[in-house]
Symmetry: C3
């Protein structure tokens, strides 16, 4: 399959389509997610009111749900939006931020995971928590490597019928049958808040133009990671890195194309 | 009238006054709006609780209402704040983000538009939607040019008794009798989230020092657009652009003054 | 006491520990607070739901409560979180943003101040307002110098049993018996939104590794101010300044150590 992977082609389609991506995401992530989506060529909208989420899903090409700063009214909107997305055949991404840290968060994440997301993106601790394993989440950061979670991710993907992406030093993405490893990114990215959330947004944008969720997720992981690598070159610290990642997403395909490191595992 | 327009003089008064601008705006826009207002010399405050919005309007020099991430409690606060502003003679700006995208959003925008805002700032689709035309909004982005909406804007301004500003490649601002075109800005600004919202904030700051809303809106459009032009020079992408716009607002009047392109239409 | 102050040693312990800092802060401040905390080596989490704040405090090393964009459900969560923190012996910081501006805000700030925060950080107007003095707050900015509030801060600290930090051109921090002046920072920092809020976050991170709140607050004030000075060198405006402050926090202790200007008063 990998020989037919074409991240650059998908990016070109994304730029051409400029898909409307409906995000119900956390307060911290909204700004950087919107800017990352605009930079890569999508049209983001942050819409969370129960009074309009279903209507908004209906005009969107993808939905992204992120529980980072959840509360009951927002969770209700997430559920409604997810159900509407599934009913319409609109792809949707779940980012179960901090699953495992509190009972409320874990319960909400599992409930949403059961509503047929196209892709679930989390760090190792979050994915392990979704799969019922206890421990490993420390606030919203993972204490486990992505590799530790790759077997569990495969089972989880099979059980839920969703693609599961585990991000870490190497990212794993699996649909339960096939698994891909994506080797992009830079360690300093972990010192910028909400980049994982922005990546979930970018995954939504790729789902809008790539019907196979496994591929869409791998493309998002690879190109977002590549933008991070480009941005990190010469960056003094995470302030500069964040600015340059948005710049890099904007110019990604105008530079000599770098090698995309996705391989089957 | 244009020969008496003096954007630089108004900016000097703004810097001198440092007006308190009360913003009830969306989650995505809060950060860049606050930073843009601070950079231009105003004192922004984001206050939305029903328990205090009326008190806060009463100590502010202008109010800015933006429905980007609306929900019922916030809409109620917007209504109260707007009514209090009108009762006190405090100028206020309405930014009807995404009007036309959902019924809830359109209804809310129209309700607020009927509460005597000093200035309504929107893209072409939002303004057309306020005027009762159907279609043209795609999420929170416009699918129509500002020029298409200029006639409708004039009627809307006349009907509501508000100044209407339609932003696009060229911006139009009208009080229903006179209309001005403002030719500033840069295409890359559309790839940075919430700059239109920040502009609405800046419009509030100018309303605090310029009693005629038509002029205040034109000054805000021109100088914010000019800051965007300055910022775009040499910017690699929208990450850098955003940072530099805030810088440009800070130094705008310390550099040799550029020509302000506002003309009657 | 000052001869035993060791800000750099505390920073080294912070980097080593990477403490989880639970923030219930305002919408404007979340992004820059999270990025500042990540840059200095802490692990921030923004969690506000009544359904989980107590659980989250229980796994955190410090709590930071900031009332910038308060509303009833959030205030309830702040109270619960603060009480749980005190019950567990977890240090917590109160940032009474805009106390004095409205009755609701002043009432909330005073209620929280009575719940035994380890450190209260505010500008002069906010501290005077907490102490029952009327006037001086203008929106969320102070119209009073920190020096004016230093006597009141000392009495307030004694009365509440909390350390009180008053930020301004020179910062004062007192536990009611001893008082320190911290001479760091740069005037342009007042033109970047939410830096005071980010400082409150950083104070929480130092409280996690320094048991004496007076020292923790002084270290946070000094090192955050120092990062601001480093960032201001050559910065065109507040856009660049903000990016560079995050960078500076990241590299602060990799550069030749500058003198820390803390002295008893």
């Amino acid at each position: 399959m990998t020989d037919r992977l074409d991240a650059w082609g998908a990016l070109a389609r994304l730029r051409e389509a400029g898909p409307l991506v409906h995000c119900i995401t956390n307060y911290v992530a909204m700004d950087v997610t919107a800017n990352a989506l605009l930079a890569i060529g999508a049209s983001p909208a942050m819409v969370h009111a129960n009074e309009e989420v279903e209507d908004f899903v209906s005009i969107s090409s993808a939905l992204v749900v992120n529980i980072g700063t959840l509360s009951p009214a927002w969770v209700q909107a997430m559920e409604r939006a997810a159900d509407r997305a599934v009913a319409r055949g609109t792809p949707w991404v779940l980012d179960p931020v901090g699953a495992g840290a509190t009972a409320y968060r874990t319960r909400t994440a599992r409930d949403l995971a059961g509503r047929h997301p196209s892709v679930i993106r989390g760090n190792a601790s979050e994915i392990l928590s979704l799969a019922g394993e206890v421990g490993g989440t420390r606030g919203v950061d993972s204490t486990r490597g992505a590799g530790e979670a790759s077997g569990v991710a495969r089972e989880l993907a099979r059980g839920l019928g969703s693609v599961v992406a585990v991000t870490g030093q190497v990212d794993y993405v699996t649909d339960g049958r096939r698994s891909l490893a994506v080797e992009h990114g830079h360690p300093m990215m972990t010192r910028v808040t909400a980049l994982g959330c922005a990546l979930a947004g970018i995954t939504g944008a790729f789902l809008a133009v790539e019907p196979e969720p496994l591929r869409a997720a791998a493309y998002a992981l690879a190109l977002f990671g590549l933008a991070g690598e480009m941005a990190a070159t010469g960056a003094i610290g995470p302030g500069t890195l964040r600015v340059r990642i948005v710049d890099a997403l904007h110019v990604l395909d105008t530079l000599p194309q770098r090698e995309i490191r996705i391989h089957e595992v």
